[in-house]
């Protein structure tokens, strides 16, 4: 039957021109056919060895060509090769009778390691003809030993600030709902003051004093904020009435809001208190300005 000696020999003529990746397979197959002719084999081996890239990446040279090159060049090449395992120098197979089975040029483990590393550079992407067709993947990418036995999805955390389902914050509502905390805070300030009076230990006094001052200043800012909001609210109420009549709305400036709040604050105070407040503020501002002066020029 006139069938070819090996079916593989039909393939080379078609495939050889297509891609550089299969070059090494073709070289190997060509080598197998010319095994009997030693001279041709050695020349071919040398040819295929010189075809290898200059950085001598062993993964791209066909194995058959390597063997042939070795046998042609002798032991000198094997010793100079850096990836030889020392145990390879001993005769490894006592049971091989045929002479043309020389020992491996590289350690078996390192050739697989080279293949695994080479597989990482394979960036081919295959597209399926249809969604019913099987997926095509590269056969050179090594698979890690990590297995996910049960796939647990990672917890998705949701920030309510950016969650569209939550909606906008209504400060009034929040303040109304949490108004009970203000009474708690006032109670705590009173307790801290009482505790400070009773406490003798300097260290603990420091701690208490710090807590007290921070709470009090927080309370103060909250009050100031409330005063400002009150001013704005009042103004908005008036404006709404005017708009209902038909006038255009008028918005207060920041400075205007501050002034009105200040007026409101001072209204309830007596003249002594007002003086005190102004004095304190003046001192604070001058102290700030004094800090701005460079050290050399400070008095």
């Amino acid at each position: 039957m006139p069938r070819s000696r090996s079916s593989s020999s039909d393939a080379p003529s078609i495939e050889s021109a297509t891609s550089p990746q299969i070059r090494r397979v073709r070289a190997y197959k060509g080598a197998s056919d010319d095994e009997e002719m030693a001279s041709d084999a050695s020349s071919e081996a040398l040819e295929s060895a010189t075809e290898a890239p200059p950085n001598d990446d062993l993964a791209t040279i066909s194995f058959g060509a390597l063997i042939k090159a070795q046998s042609a060049l002798g032991k000198r090449r094997r010793r100079s090769s850096s990836s030889t395992d020392p145990t390879e120098d001993q005769p490894p197979e006592p049971f091989s009778t045929t002479p043309h089975h020389p020992p491996r040029p590289t350690h078996p483990a390192s050739s697989e390691a080279l293949e695994r590393r080479a597989g990482k550079k394979d960036h081919r992407d295959f597209s399926r003809p249809s969604k019913h067709a099987p997926t095509e993947l590269s056969a050179k990418k090594a698979v890690s030993r990590k297995r996910s036995v049960i796939h647990l999805p990672r917890r998705q955390s949701r920030d309510p600030r950016f969650e569209p389902a939550v909606g906008r914050v209504d400060d009034e509502k929040v303040k109304r709902n949490y108004a009970f905390l203000d009474s708690y805070r006032d109670n705590e300030i009173a307790e801290l003051k009482a505790g400070l009076k009773r406490e003798k230990d300097a260290g603990k006094r420091e701690v208490l004093k710090k807590a007290l001052t921070s709470m009090e200043s927080r309370r103060k800012t909250q009050q100031l904020k409330e005063q400002r909001q009150e001013v704005v609210r009042l103004h908005r109420r008036e404006e709404r009435a005017k708009v209902a009549e038909g006038k255009k709305p008028f918005y207060l400036k920041r400075g205007e809001i501050k002034e009105r709040a200040l007026k409101e604050r001072f209204r309830g105070m007596k003249s002594k208190q007002v003086d005190k407040v102004i004095e304190r503020r003046r001192k604070k501002l001058t102290a700030k300005e004094r800090k701005g002066m460079p050290l050399e020029r400070r008095g």
Binding site: M1, P2, R3, S6, S7, S8, A11, E15, S19, Q21, I22, V25, Y28, S32, E35, F63, G64, I67, E93, P94, F95, S96, H101, P108, S111, E112, E115, R116, G119, D122, R124, F126, H132, A133, P134, T135, E136, L137, S138, A139, K140, K141, A142, V143, R147
Partner: protein, 573 residues
């Protein structure tokens, strides 16, 4: 060359037929008789009208044989030689044939088509209906050891491997002479294969690096169709290649990092594919006794591998990753086919819903069993393959679809339900105690005749089941059952209802091939069975009994009439 086959001259053929007169059952091979070719007077198809053109150049007036160039002359001469050879072979095959078929254009055309299909890897033999499985003759291989894990064939030799690191070479006796069978009324005789060689490894030499035999249970064996090499793989991570004549180890390969679970030679070449528990498939060349490359991709240990005839591709299955992958070695790519659809159901085709055979009751098909792992694979042709899973389902796949086109659920039925004392260690079982449901039997062995439509499966239900792939390659149908009963022992083969006649053990490996020697065609199925699965002792101690062995069935061809019907028109299935 093609011009010879594309010029049918029907009118001319008819004229020649009338001229030659009465039919001759035999044709004389000599060249002078070419002009006196006698036809059977059957259908004169126009397929290979070229045969006449070749044989009767003088008869055709306008055939330019005299003014041919040397190249065309040479082609002509070679083509004539080839056809002569084929004619001779088909004539020999039909010499003793009692079906009175003449060698005519159809046979030669068929043979040429078959050769073409074989080289291309297309299904060319539709032999499923040709064999009578009820008339199978069973033979035991006489073995001292047990726990057979694998079997490989290279006709007429059979190689078996076992858990105790023994490799045995057997020679099959020649097939029985059907003439003798037809004449005398004597019963068919069981002819045992003869042991030729045996080789055993040593478990104590596990640490010895220079030891050239296996030191752990051998899991798989493969023989090259060229008849020169035998390869075995075992739990000790080694692949050992032997010379078949002497069973001497030629080479030991230690590149695999874990047990080697399966080996397969590419038909008509000396290229070997190996599959291992380290999730890699490695390609080896036996011409140089060397390692070629590694193919990565499986996510779990690769348990079975099969090679494609005609193309440099192989097909492997990972166990619990439930994928079958076709590896295109030259292009360094893989095609991934995903299984694991037991719970979601089979394809919606009505054929798959029908139960397989007598054993399966009607209540069984309602429940679907999830496919946990795909265990075995067999190649049918270039684009078609079958896989067997651990939920008993036999799936038929084509390479254009990522899901199976046909699934035969529960091919070997369900296991017997456990007894309460087996299911629980409690002395007093509570009122809400439920017996666990019976599980389906896995498919532990799967084999096919290369490039044909016959598939055999094995499990531990005591028999080997035979299936046929439908003509349109989209379905599977059951053909028959092989167990330890046969005509010789008095029982009809296939009557596996009687437990004593079932195979006592688990079938670990199957091989099936046709034996065509001098006109006798029979189908040979060889099963290697053991009390344990080759990869693990899941069913040890479950009372499957027996120790193991190798069984062989020879299935004769059916009678003449049916064979002729096959020729006229292929049966639509």
């Amino acid at each position: 060359m093609s011009s010879f086959f594309t010029t049918p001259k029907s009118l001319k053929k008819r004229r020649r037929e009338d001229a030659t007169g009465p039919t001759n059952s035999k044709r004389i091979k000599a060249g002078a008789s070419r002009s006196k070719k006698s036809k059977a007077g059957k259908d004169d198809s126009e397929v290979s009208g070229s045969d006449d053109d070749l044989e009767d150049p003088q008869a055709d007036g306008h055939e330019s044989s005299s003014e041919d160039e040397t190249a065309a002359d040479r082609r002509l001469r070679l083509a004539e030689q080839y056809l002569e050879k084929i004619k001779g072979e088909t004539q020999d095959a039909n010499e003793i044939g009692f079906d009175a078929e003449d060698i005519d254009r159809d046979l030669i055309a068929e043979r040429l088509q078959k050769d073409n299909d074989e080289t291309k890897g297309r299904m060319c033999k539709f032999i499923a209906s040709d064999y009578d499985f009820k008339a199978a003759v069973r033979t035991n291989f006489r073995l001292k050891h047990s726990h057979m894990n694998g079997v490989a064939i290279c006709p007429p030799y059979v190689y078996t491997v076992s858990k105790d690191t023994t490799i045995t070479k057997w020679e099959l006796p020649p097939p029985t002479d059907p003439r003798r069978k037809a004449n005398s009324s004597q019963k068919p005789v069981r002819r045992r294969p003869v042991k030729v060689l045996e080789v055993k490894g040593d478990r104590s030499k596990a640490k010895d690096k220079d030891y050239s035999y296996h030191t752990a249970p051998i899991l798989t064996v493969a023989a090259s169709s060229t008849g020169k090499f035998l390869a075995t793989g075992s739990l000790d991570k080694k692949i050992i290649v032997y010379d078949t004549a002497t069973l001497k180890p030629l080479r030991v390969f230690t590149q695999h990092r874990d047990a080697v679970t399966s080996l397969s030679f590419q038909p008509s070449t000396n290229q070997l594919y190996s599959a291992s528990r380290d999730r890699t498939v490695k390609v080896w060349s036996m011409n140089e006794l060397a390692y070629v490359e590694t193919l990565f991709g499986h996510q779990d240990s690769v348990v079975d591998i099969a090679a494609y005839p005609g193309v440099e591709r192989c097909l492997s299955v990972g166990a619990r990753d439930r994928t079958a992958r076709i590896w295109k070695v030259i292009e360094e790519t893989q095609l991934v086919f995903r299984g694991g659809s037991g719970s979601s159901g089979n394809s919606s085709k009505p054929v798959s819903r029908k139960p397989a055979s007598d054993k399966l009751g009607s209540g069984v098909e309602a429940k679907k069993y999830a496919e946990g792992s795909i265990d075995r694979v067999a190649v049918i042709e270039n684009d078609v393959f079958v896989t067997g899973s651990d939920n008993g389902s036999l799936c038929l796949w084509i390479s254009q679809k990522k899901k199976p086109v046909f699934t035969q659920p529960l091919t070997h039925g369900l296991e017997e339900p456990l007894r309460p004392d087996e299911a629980s260690a409690e002395v007093h079982l509570g009122p809400d105690f439920r017996l666990p449901e019976p599980q389906p039997r896995w498919i532990t062995a799967l084999a096919s005749v290369p490039l044909s439509d016959l598939v055999v499966t094995g499990s531990w239900d005591g028999c080997v089941r035979v299936w046929a792939v439908g003509k349109e390659k989209r379905s599977l149908r059951p053909l028959g059952v092989l167990d330890r009963s046969d005509a010789i022992s008095g029982a009809i083969n296939g009557n596996a209802g009687e437990k004593e006649l079932g195979i006592k053990g688990l079938v670990n490996d199957l091989r099936v091939f046709e034996r065509e020697e001098r006109g006798q065609e029979s189908l040979c199925v060889i099963a290697a069975f053991s009390s344990e699965h080759r990869l693990g002792r899941w069913n040890a101690g479950k009372g499957s009994g027996g120790s193991g062995g190798v069984l062989m069935w020879e299935i004769p061809r059916r009678k003449v009439g049916r064979a002729r019907r096959k020729k006229a028109q292929p049966k639509s299935i």
